[in-house]
Symmetry: C2
Subunit: 499 residues, 2 copies
Amino acid sequence: MDPRKAYDELIQKVRNLHYITSVRSLMVWDQRTYMPKKAAKFRGRQYAAIAEYAHSVITSREFVSLLEEAERGDFPPGSREAMNLYWLRRTYDRTVKVPVALRLDLIRKTTETEVVWREAKEKDDPSLVLPGLGEIIRLKREMAEYLGYETEPYDALLDDYEPGLRAKRVEEVFSYIRSRTVDLLRKVMDARESGKVPKRIEGRFPVIDQRRFHIFMLRKIGYDLEAGRLDETTHPFAVRITPGDVRITTRYKEDDVLDGIFSTLHEMGHAFYNMGLPEEWFGEPVGNAPSLAVHESQSRFWENVVGRSREFWMGFYPFLQAFLPTLYDYSLEDFLFAANDMKPSFIRIEADELTYNLHIILRFEIERDLINGKIEVKDLPDAWNSRFKEMFGIEPPTHREGFLQDIHWYSGSFGYFPTYTFGNVIAAQIRARIMEDMDLPSAVYDWDFASILSWLREKIHSHGALYLPEDLVKKATGEDPNPMYLMEYLQEKVDLFYS
Amino acid sequence: MDPRKAYDELIQKVRNLHYITSVRSLMVWDQRTYMPKKAAKFRGRQYAAIAEYAHSVITSREFVSLLEEAERGDFPPGSREAMNLYWLRRTYDRTVKVPVALRLDLIRKTTETEVVWREAKEKDDPSLVLPGLGEIIRLKREMAEYLGYETEPYDALLDDYEPGLRAKRVEEVFSYIRSRTVDLLRKVMDARESGKVPKRIEGRFPVIDQRRFHIFMLRKIGYDLEAGRLDETTHPFAVRITPGDVRITTRYKEDDVLDGIFSTLHEMGHAFYNMGLPEEWFGEPVGNAPSLAVHESQSRFWENVVGRSREFWMGFYPFLQAFLPTLYDYSLEDFLFAANDMKPSFIRIEADELTYNLHIILRFEIERDLINGKIEVKDLPDAWNSRFKEMFGIEPPTHREGFLQDIHWYSGSFGYFPTYTFGNVIAAQIRARIMEDMDLPSAVYDWDFASILSWLREKIHSHGALYLPEDLVKKATGEDPNPMYLMEYLQEKVDLFYS
């Protein structure tokens, strides 16, 4: 068959498959918002049936022979066709390398262990979950062997989330971030000791009024509510069901007005990316973001760079006060400082911009050691606590506030955590670059979010997965991911609030 | 291959397919409740991809050879296996008989015509939609030829909705209902002229209070909100996504408290049926209801037989008044009479229990003539108006209130309408039968809905599609569907309120 024809047929197949698998996003959205409790059992079978179907298509003889045939074509390097074939080859290879039995074992084990983890966390009892976690790690190591790696097993898993990234590189970036963060944190703690501590924003903030403000804010920033929704959930997320249907969720705490706002801004950032991916590529590999870190850079950009800036709140705070009159008791400065509160804490998802990366670095070091066999599962609780103390100067009083806090490992996600901090790195780098093209603070103050968004669309979103993650960052900013910008940005923040 | 093995493999295939196709129910629910507007375009492609996949499975060589092999087995007639094979054979035959091109033409034409129909209805302009409708009828006739029939083309289409039912039989049943209904309606009209007219229930009924009452009512009747939901929509519906996930929707009119209540009760009846189908048969053909009419019998039973009865409101009216204090201006008798208001009207979905069947009979006669070529599309507007006048004594002032009111024909549903009245027939027959086993009015008055529901579960729901529709009715009630019970029931109603 002619390679062009094979390519077209292959892409048609892949698109049709994606039209079906993308329905899972609706199922996930439903499951976490409105799904009745007793739906869980058969919902699991529905997911499994779709997964099985997708697996059968990708591993079919027809699929691989179309792929091979198409690969014989001379599509220009970097073209949409060439990149689609690159991603399809990658998916195919990674799919066939791992035996189905191992995949099923992992699904079974992680499904079981997630349940046990919830109990262990509630009862603060590591012994319940350590055996299951040990099994998962054993299976993940086995998977790494099947997938293959050059220097260490952990790399094979990391590559799942961040194509091309290696532990060695993460280590370099993180050691730079770590040492500078520790310095900055010392400065912050000194300032705090001398009385520079934000006032706690207290009061009762009715959910309905919070929701009204969130909708107002989303509209003003330019989130299209005819192509999305804002619903409530326990763990906020953004989900792209199709182009034209990119939904976000948030949560409202009646005693904490900040939490929900930054959740919404974070998920809105993800949604903007999803809404900016080329519609006509939907269903093709190039129609997606190239990696989690790049995706996270967009959420962090809107949540932190834009959303925690003075200019943002100069514009929005008067409205927030009008929606939630309790806030007339707090000045703009009070509010802004509270939104930029920095201090050591135990829980990653509640951490501030500065200490957040330390939480990630801790997890990276531990999970790398677990996968590479440098530490045993039985030593995990102690390893966590001692390393935490070394890094933060405090020790978690419970395991619930320690190694049991995140679901990731218990659901089999090893290699995921670093992408959060790489997202921060890229977001700060984009900030530095965008400021060469426009006056970012003024644009934010003037509610000219359209200009910011169109910059991001042009430089990032519109390329989909036409480039590998690092190449995209380089193309957009002129440089490989460089943690210097993140540390400069954080330095500015610390100077602004704690000096 | 051994027939038993072939059967098992076939059923596994069918179940897995159903786990995927059943996700469409979630998509439909979403589309009619929360889906953002701009999702429509790609949602269409998702439906199409699933439909195409289902079609490819059912028409695959593997499917038919498993089916043929399994049919060689000696499964006892009427067994779960035998009935599954019966339904699968039926689906397979009906699928392969009709050329794919014709199916695609129909999908294209009806999708187009539905849009035009909305405009035609709004502008009250038949000329916009008659050409499209003519095309649809031509295609449906062609389809009937492919499907085959014994006496008239219409039968082939009717059989799609009501397996085994023929136009001749519908005609008999309907002519009986028609003549008796006309007599009863005359009696009602005489009583109305002498002043027996219900007071209109007027006032402003806040949506939120209506919703609270609906939830209260559903709970008391026994609808499991952990296995379902109640949401708001324009055209209420019930949908079974999986066992354990059977959702209903309703609508609230601020100036009409009755409309929403009976919508909710109607959809609840459908939901009870869906919830009562054997869970372990989910994904197999026998795991469904055998026909639309049987399904409709359950919704009509709860909406009308139970929901419009005096005993029901003796229990619920004081609560309804407490939720909606405006109703303290109306006595139980006022309310009950308003809920049983009977009079000629133009709109089917607003019609009362008595005249409703006349609306259906009109549509049956016309659609049968259209498909069998007895009347031309161009004569439809006049035919509708003159037959309507003959039946109801009044003529629709607009086509919007005439032949343009229902979407069915414009979306290609010919043969669907009769199932509504057959649902009424079966509901009344069940009522007659259940009253031999229990004191139905007392059970309703005592809120002993569990007893009623368990009777329905045992006699109807739990059998799924193990019997053909008429056989199921016969098994449950001891008799073939017999319209006498419906007319006796309506006679009682008329005597109660209009004598």
